[in-house]
């Protein structure tokens, strides 16, 4: 079952993506059970109690607690399951969005109609210095390291979306929003914009290059010889 569900998603290469996917599966199992139960009951009642000559419907108004228990108890179960999913969700949320883990790898990504401007601080790890490098739509990072992204926008709202890293965060003009991710596997992954940003929204797409440590060192050497 879990394999079928994973097949719907793009490959997960995120350090926290597994938890999002697991939460998705948990909700799917809980809601799936309710789906089968409720739809099954509807179908069963519709067939079992279809009109037949000579049989009258029962007068059951559900106006006393004894009868209402039939719907109140399931509602209570729904409430408990809701709370369970809420608290499971709160843990995962706190881990991903609650705080940004320590990182010495900072990148500034600025959305603009219709590209991602990616600013690398260079060896001095400071933005706004001479060794900064600006690239369009190419985000090069080392794999297996926490990357801190400072998201900005020059014009309208964009949304920084890394499907394989299970990360999405809006970039809002006037704000610097911090997000983070850690790629667990080297590779080239899509980086589309997920928020309608104008006539060129379709095709606003960058790439994340997660390099192995050696490859990253090689790439950095080319940029900052």
């Amino acid at each position: 079952m879990a394999e079928i569900i994973s097949g719907w998603f793009p490959e997960n290469v995120s350090s926290f993506g597994g938890e999002i996917d697991a939460l998705f599966r948990l909700i799917l199992y809980v809601t799936g059970a309710w789906f089968i139960l409720t739809e099954g009951l509807i179908l069963f009642f519709l067939l079992r109690y279809r009109r037949r000559e000579g049989r009258r419907a029962a007068y059951v108004a559900g106006d006393n607690l004894r009868q209402l228990a039939w719907i109140l108890v399931p509602c209570l179960i729904v409430l408990l399951l809701d709370l369970w999913l809420d608290f499971r969700g709160a843990e995962v949320w706190a881990k991903i969005k609650g705080q940004v883990p320590p990182s010495d790898f900072h990148i500034q990504v600025t959305g603009k109609q219709f590209n991602w401007e990616i600013l690398y601080p260079g060896p001095d790890k400071e933005f706004g210095t001479a060794d900064d490098v600006l690239m369009e739509n190419e985000l090069h990072v080392p794999a297996s390291r926490v990357v801190r992204v400072i998201l900005k926008s020059k014009d309208v709202i964009h949304s920084f979306f890394l499907p394989n890293l299970r990360l999405k965060q809006d970039a809002v003009p006037g704000r610097a929003i911090t997000a983070w991710f850690e790629a667990t596997k080297p590779g080239k992954y899509p980086l589309p914009c997920a928020e309608l940003c104008g006539f060129g929204h379709t095709g606003m797409n960058g790439w994340l290059f997660a390099h192995s440590p050696e490859d990253y060192a090689k790439w950095a050497k080319q940029q900052w010889p």
């Binding site: 999002i20 809601t31 409720t38 419907a57 719907i71 969005k97």
Partner: protein, 570 residues
């Protein structure tokens, strides 16, 4: 003439209402309901057309759409924007609130008309004006609004970001007019249902539809204020150079999102509740049983209405608002499933040990229920903030809200139209065509929207015009084409309804007063009801759902029929 006294007014005009009074500037709630219905059905065709164009472009990007031509990216954005705007504000609300509410509230509570018939007429004409403005906005130079139906600034706040000038201004104006219209309608609904109930029609003898319409009207009136203010601010940003939502002038783009969704999420329930109300009337009639848990349903509705005001920020988990805010909103959002679960369970329990007839209205009611359950359950995924990180702004969301809204607007709408058609137009609809229409709609609806969840989980973003431009979405293209074919078939299936509607209007079997043997008061008057509705105001002795009660010899007991044996207190 005193507008608070519809009785006096109509006596003067009843004898010979001229063409203008009878058809255009009528103050009769039934006529006004049909006016709303006609305009909404026109917009439904437009909404369907936008869906067709979008689906074609998504399946076969940059090919000529049969019967139309090529679709440029900016035109696609206009389609996205207009589809949402039209379907929510110009189809769902006019049909579910204005048409059914107007037609049924006075009849169901035993009143001769709305409390303010002239205000009612005015609200329709303001709505007609809103429709005209929206229609105009499609044809002005620069094109129609293209910033999404949510109109997020800065994209919507500066013409140079979209290239759209007057199209977007007129779009805002149309929305403001529409809100004004529904505010008038809401005032009317509330006043009517509180003050004009027939003797004996206590609040707990009101049909559930009336409760649902009232709750929806209250939710609407309480939530729309901030958005009207927001719309005016956005219009000012566009035309007089203010910067409420523009950071370069110290404004805040997120402010709009809060104003929009503080209204936008309650709006979902403004649409859902009347949809539920319609099928809550239909299920007991075709199960020949009282609705299970009448009072708990009412309490649940009120709880859901109250909760709907504290869930809005679940649209903004990733908007840049403080992430600590996500959890409270995630919890309220998921908890709102409880009152809705109760209503759903109550509907299911009503079927238990019933005597169920599969008429067209009942089939559509069951379609509403089964489709809504699916949509309600997928809402849990979206409400869970961590899962939303991935599925936000993907087709999973699109699929989810079509499961909830299509069920309320179209399945429940068709249930209501086929059920009350005899009362509205005095003729029966054709059952064979009705059933054919139901099954085609049910099958193709699911064929469109179940695969759409999978496309969304594959990562396909909303509001992109060409998935093939993204390498990672290309494997999903066969699924996108399947969805498009199913969507076209879903749209074509509606022709069955169109044929049935007009055919029945002209040559359907003449309807009697009460073809379904139902209890509520609208079935106690001729079909269609005359001006003023009732010869004499009825006196109500029972709740609305006394089917198979031991107090009556037959299996139904109209609300105004007095039973002489024993106390009829229900």
């Amino acid at each position: 003439m005193n507008s608070t006294s519809p009785n006096a007014e109509s006596v003067a005009h009843d004898a010979e209402p001229g063409f203008w009074r009878a058809y255009l500037f009528s103050t009769d709630h039934k006529r006004i309901a049909k006016q709303y219905l006609s305009v909404a059905l026109f917009w439904a065709v437009m909404g369907g057309l936008t869906a067709y164009l979008m689906r074609w472009q998504l399946a076969y990007p940059d090919t000529e759409v049969p019967g139309w031509g090529f679709i440029a990216p900016d035109f696609y954005n206009m389609l996205v924007t207009m589809h949402g705007t039209i379907m929510v504000f110009f189809v769902a609300m006019p049909i579910l609130l204005a048409a059914f509410g107007n037609f049924l509230i006075p009849l169901m509570i035993g009143a001769r008309d709305m409390a303010f018939p002239r205000l009612n007429m005015l609200s329709f004409w303001v709505f007609a004006l809103a429709s005209l403005v929206l229609l105009t906005s499609l044809f002005v130079p620069g094109g129609a609004a293209s910033a999404g139906w949510t109109g997020y600034p800065p994209l919507s706040a500066k013409p140079e970001y979209t290239g759209v000038t007057w199209g977007l201004n007129l779009w805002l104006l149309a929305l403001a007019l529409e809100f004004a219209s529904f505010l008038m309608g809401g005032v009317n609904f509330l006043t009517t249902a509180i003050n004009m109930r027939a003797p004996g029609m206590s609040f707990f003898r009101l049909p559930l539809l009336v409760w649902m319409e009232l709750t929806a009207a209250v939710i609407f009136m309480l939530s729309v204020g901030p958005l009207i203010a927001g719309a005016v601010m956005l219009l000012m940003d566009r035309v007089v150079g203010t910067t409420f939502f523009l950071p370069e002038g110290g404004g805040e783009p997120l402010l709009w999102q809060h104003l929009f969704w503080f209204f936008g999420h309650p709006e979902v329930y403004v649409i859902l509740l009347p949809g539920f109300g319609l099928i809550l009337e239909i299920i007991p009639v075709f199960s020949r049983k009282p609705i299970f848990g009448y009072r708990p349903i009412i309490y649940s509705t009120i709880v859901a209405g109250a909760l709907s005001f504290v869930v809005w920020a679940h649209h903004q988990f990733l908007s840049g608002m403080d992430p600590r805010l996500a959890m409270p909103f995630s919890i309220t959002t998921i908890i709102i499933s409880v009152p809705f679960a109760l209503i759903v369970f109550a509907m299911i329990a009503t079927l238990w040990r019933g005597s169920i007839t599969f008429s067209t209205p009942m089939l559509f009611a069951m379609g509403t229920l089964s489709v809504f359950i699916f949509g309600g359950l997928t809402g849990i995924f979206n409400g869970s903030a961590p899962v939303d990180i991935y599925i936000h702004d993907t087709y999973f969301i699109v699929a989810h809200f079509h499961y909830t809204l299509f069920s309320a607007v179209f399945f429940a709408g068709f249930a209501g139209l086929t059920y009350w058609f005899p009362k509205m137009f005095g003729r029966m609809m054709n059952e064979q065509l009705g059933k054919l229409h139901f099954w085609l709609t049910f099958v193709f609806f699911n064929a469109v929207f179940i695969p759409m969840h999978v496309v969304g989980l594959g990562g396909m973003m909303r509001r992109i015009s060409d998935p093939t431009q993204y390498e990672f979405l290309r494997p999903l293209q066969p699924l996108n084409q399947f969805i498009t074919v199913a969507a076209i078939l879903l749209l074509l299936s509606q022709l069955v309804f169109v044929v049935n509607f007009f055919r029945s209007l002209i040559c359907g079997k003449v309807a009697e007063r009460n073809p379904w043997q139902a209890n509520t008061l609208e079935w106690r008057v001729p079909s269609p009801p005359p001006h003023e509705n009732f010869d004499a105001i009825p006196v109500v002795y029972h709740g609305p759902y006394e089917y198979n009660s031991s107090e009556a010899a037959v299996d139904w007991l109209p609300q105004d029929r007095r039973v002489t044996t024993g106390a009829a207190t229900r």
